[in-house]
């Protein structure tokens, strides 16, 4: 009987993020009468997609034992580059070239991958700590974003019919009543889950994060695996750069400031271990929802921005405390049972 109880506690602890999510939704729907409306849920989903897509990339990085602080700045930089390409085109010499929107999207995704690749190369080949490397690229990208327009905003990202570059705003619009970003989030989540669970590369991410020395001895090219994690992270950040710009109908150089922290928080809330080696995509998705629901729910209840930050911080720490408690409890229970049986 007692064993059953313990197992129940364990199941509850393991599904805790999901339970917290449900409790939060129930709480906010009582606290604010308009929370459970279609409009609100659409808004929440729109915001969740922003953190969520960043968190997908972050999950791969953290699973390999790294961290990527540059994603927020990549969001800003990609937005500025895309906005600039639409409004001003690409000028060389006396010619100005305008790209179509699909071409711009592909180009921007390449920019994101390139920044991720640079992060990965510096971290693995030059042996600089991930924290320092991505802190550096975070500043550099933010600086470049400001440099592109001298700190000004690109306001007309709608494009011009005559130039054939109309259409980026579609990424910020609703399709069949659901924000476009949510579709992107869903597709990327699906791809990420397949990559992590169903391909050899997915195993390699877990192996490198779990025991890098063994991974190397197994013939896995751990440097390449890590570089890929940062490329994925940059790729995801580029998507958010585009979606965010489209949603705002403008490209602002300060966009995405601090969003890397939301992504890390969502990933950790989702059960990915900061020491690497374990984590799931579904966990990260739930984590992103928790962050999104807390943020929007508190705003709707009229909680001040200052208090929001305090509560968000407390929730993150609490989540990790519960995570550690669960592990300790599990180990302790097993040992105690054995000591008693002696």
């Amino acid at each position: 009987m007692k064993k059953d109880n313990n197992q129940l506690v364990m199941t509850l602890l393991k599904g805790r993020t999901f339970i917290v999510l449900i409790l939060l939704v129930i709480f906010f729907s009582f606290a604010s009468s308009s929370f459970l409306s279609l409009n609100t849920l659409t808004m929440v989903a729109k915001h969740v997609a922003l953190y969520g897509i960043l968190a997908l990339g972050m999950t791969f990085v953290i699973i390999t034992g790294g961290i990527d602080l540059s994603v927020g700045s990549v969001v800003g930089l990609v937005g500025m580059l895309a906005g600039g390409l639409i409004q001003e085109g690409f000028t060389f010499g006396d010619k100005t070239l305008y790209f179509t929107v699909p071409a711009i999207i592909v180009l921007m995704l390449c920019v994101g991958c390139l920044i991720g690749w640079i992060n990965g190369i510096i971290i693995t080949k030059l042996n600089v700590a991930a924290f320092i490397t991505t802190l550096g690229t975070m500043y550099i990208c933010r600086g470049l974003a400001n440099l592109r327009s001298n700190g000004a905003t690109f306001a007309s990202i709608g494009g011009f019919e005559g130039l054939g570059n109309v259409g980026l705003k579609a990424l910020g619009a609703d399709w069949l009543g659901i924000p476009a970003g949510v579709y992107v989030f869903a597709i990327l989540s699906f791809m990420a889950a397949i990559l992590l669970n169903k391909t050899p590369t997915g195993w390699h991410f877990l192996a490198v994060g779990g025991n890098e020395k063994s991974a190397k001895l197994s013939g896995i090219k751990s440097d390449q695996v890590k570089i890929w994690a940062y490329i994925i992270s940059g790729f995801c950040a580029a998507w958010i750069g585009l979606i965010n710009t489209a949603q705002l109908s403008a490209a602002h150089p300060a966009s995405g400031d601090g969003w890397e922290m939301n992504a890390i928080a969502a990933t950790v809330l989702g059960g990915t271990s900061m020491s690497g080696g374990s984590g799931t995509i579904i966990g990260t998705i739930v984590g992103a929802f928790v962050i999104g629901v807390i943020n929007d729910g508190m705003t709707m209840c009229g909680v001040s921005e200052f208090w929001q930050k305090i509560i968000r911080g407390a929730v993150i720490i609490l989540a990790v405390i519960i995570d550690q408690t669960q592990r300790n409890l599990q180990a302790k229970m097993a040992l105690q049972a054995r000591n008693e049986s002696k």
Binding site: T199, P200, A207, N339
Partner: protein
């Protein structure tokens, strides 16, 4: 060109130089086809290093390797694997965070199109594990397995590919039970029949006599001898392995230990192992004032764990500790230091020293609070105390503010001992105090142990070297598989008794010849 049909792989005058040491010195080695090639030698003889060259984990500094009549060079493990060379590592190199089948097929994944074929993985893992007579469910997390089971998974990993020609096994039995060893030997014989060649490294001499075909002995990085097992005896192996000059002078004691009171007593000390089994299983021992107590046992017998319990590093232990006649509640490490315990840990580089600090700071690290004025460090007092200790232990230092790594291994070890002694301990715990230091320094360390015990310090020494522990200890407990299997003193301290007891807990009932 080297070409001999009976030799799978030939090493020609291999050198391996690490900063400061020459791990291999002009070693030539023939890996015979379809045989169990045994490599033996004491710790640090260069066995594992040589195998790392062959498996492509490290590359020789000089020398050549030949296979199939042509020179080969393995830049990494993949290159060696492509030639059919697999290795089972001494330290398990598994992924604790992944499942059994993921571990087995890591980097040998089976796919359907782009996707993993887990059904095939699970099927394949089951088949291999069945062959190994260990039907562990393939979706178990490796971190949840017993060490012996993990060892089997490690072996299974190497059997995944069919093109294996050479299997290197670096002490595969050190964590296996007797039944598991039997299964392993059976598998090895099967593999030989299939034309595989095996390199086998082990410290268990009686195992070597049972399974080995050809033996090669290394000592201090040099080749010593090789012979077919059928032509030789255990005595021959031991003689070549240890050399002739390892007799230590036995110290005579002036203290009458019979009249000395018990300072420390441990009752029913047990320590559970994660994943099942016991690291320590109801161990009882006592220590008298001024006594040098030895703890002997094979690797993994639970020797270091006794110290870890006493130093407060294993709060999950159970049992009673009586210290100075009173029941003692084991606290944190600093509580234990304050209570009069001090430890000289086994791994000097990782546990004993802080490499970035100088000699003086390393020595005073555990007793810094003794050298303060108010909140601030009193450097003159600290340096004076360190100077005294350096003089007393005859540590050869030009300047105590030099980096710790500028010292020889023996002098580094003395600094670690000085650190322990500077806490003014009542009980000093020394874990393999003579490991990795030269013979002169060993003798000096033994003299230090003797001298301080004569002054009334109670010392427990762990050693895996028979001759050493026989020379320094007044009384010896033998641990085997977490159990205390013998208590020897005076004339009962003999090599036979020690060796016999060290196997007694494994349940084989065999002693080394």
């Amino acid at each position: 060109m080297f070409d001999d049909p009976n030799v799978v792989l030939h090493c020609e005058k291999i050198d391996k130089i690490y900063p400061g040491t020459k791990a291999l010195d002009q070693v030539s080695f023939d890996l015979l086809k379809g045989k169990v090639n045994v490599l033996i030698g004491e710790n640090g003889a260069g066995k594992s290093t040589l195998m790392k060259m062959i498996a492509g984990i490290e590359q020789p500094s000089a020398g050549k390797m030949y296979m199939d009549g042509e020179e080969v060079y393995f830049k990494d493990t993949n290159a060696a694997r492509a030639r059919g060379i697999g290795i089972i590592h001494q330290e398990l190199s598994l992924f604790q965070n992944l499942t059994v089948y993921q571990n087995i097929f890591m980097n040998h994944e089976k796919t359907k199109g782009f996707f993993l074929d887990d059904a095939q993985h699970i099927e394949g893992a089951k088949k291999i594990l069945k062959r190994l007579e260990h039907e562990i469910p393939p979706d178990t997390l490796v971190g949840d397995l017993r060490v012996g089971q993990q060892q089997m998974v490690e072996i299974a990993r190497n059997l995944v590919e069919d093109d294996l020609r050479v299997l290197i096994m670096d002490e595969p039995t050190s964590s296996l039970s007797a039944a598991e060893v039997k299964v392993l030997f059976k598998i090895m014989r099967e593999l030989l029949e299939q034309g595989l060649s095996i390199v086998y490294i082990s410290h268990r001499l009686e195992e070597i006599m049972e399974i080995g075909d050809h033996v090669t002995i290394l000592r201090d990085g040099k080749y010593v001898a090789d012979a077919d097992i059928k032509d030789i005896t255990l005595e021959w192996i031991v003689e070549n392995m240890v050399g002739k000059n390892t007799q230590y002078h036995r110290f005579t004691r002036s203290i009458d230990l019979d009249k000395s009171e018990k300072i420390l007593e441990v009752k029913n000390l047990s320590l559970p192992k994660t994943g099942g089994g016991w690291l320590l299983d109801s161990v009882n021992m006592y220590l008298k004032k001024g006594e040098v107590l030895g703890i002997y046992g094979l690797l993994g017998a639970g020797r270091s764990e006794v110290f870890e319990c006493l130093m407060g590093m294993r709060p999950e232990h159970s049992g009673e500790v009586i210290y100075n006649g009173k029941h003692m509640k084991i606290g944190t490490i600093s509580d234990q230091l304050n209570a009069g315990f001090a430890i000289v840990p086994e791994d000097r580089q990782r546990q004993g020293l802080v490499q970035s600090l100088d000699i003086c700071k390393n020595a005073s690290l555990a007793s810094l609070s003794d050298f303060t004025t108010g909140f601030l460090m009193n450097y003159p007092a600290e340096e004076k105390a360190v100077d005294e200790e350096i003089k007393e232990l005859h540590i050869k230092v030009a300047d105590k503010h030099l980096p710790i790594l500028s010292l020889s291994g023996g002098n580094q070890q003395k600094v670690v001992i000085a650190k322990g002694l500077m806490t003014k301990p009542t009980v000093l715990l020394m874990d393999e105090p003579s490991r990795g230091i030269d013979i002169g320094a060993k003798t000096e360390v033994f003299e230090i142990i003797h001298e301080f015990s004569e002054r009334g310090l109670s010392i427990i020494v762990i050693s895996s070297e028979l001759k050493e522990i026989m020379a320094i200890a007044d009384r010896i407990y033998v641990l085997s598989n977490g159990k205390c299997t013998a208590e020897l003193s005076g004339s009962t301290i003999t090599e036979d008794n020690l060796v016999h007891a060290s196997y007694a807990g494994l349940g084989t009932g065999k002693s080394a010849a």
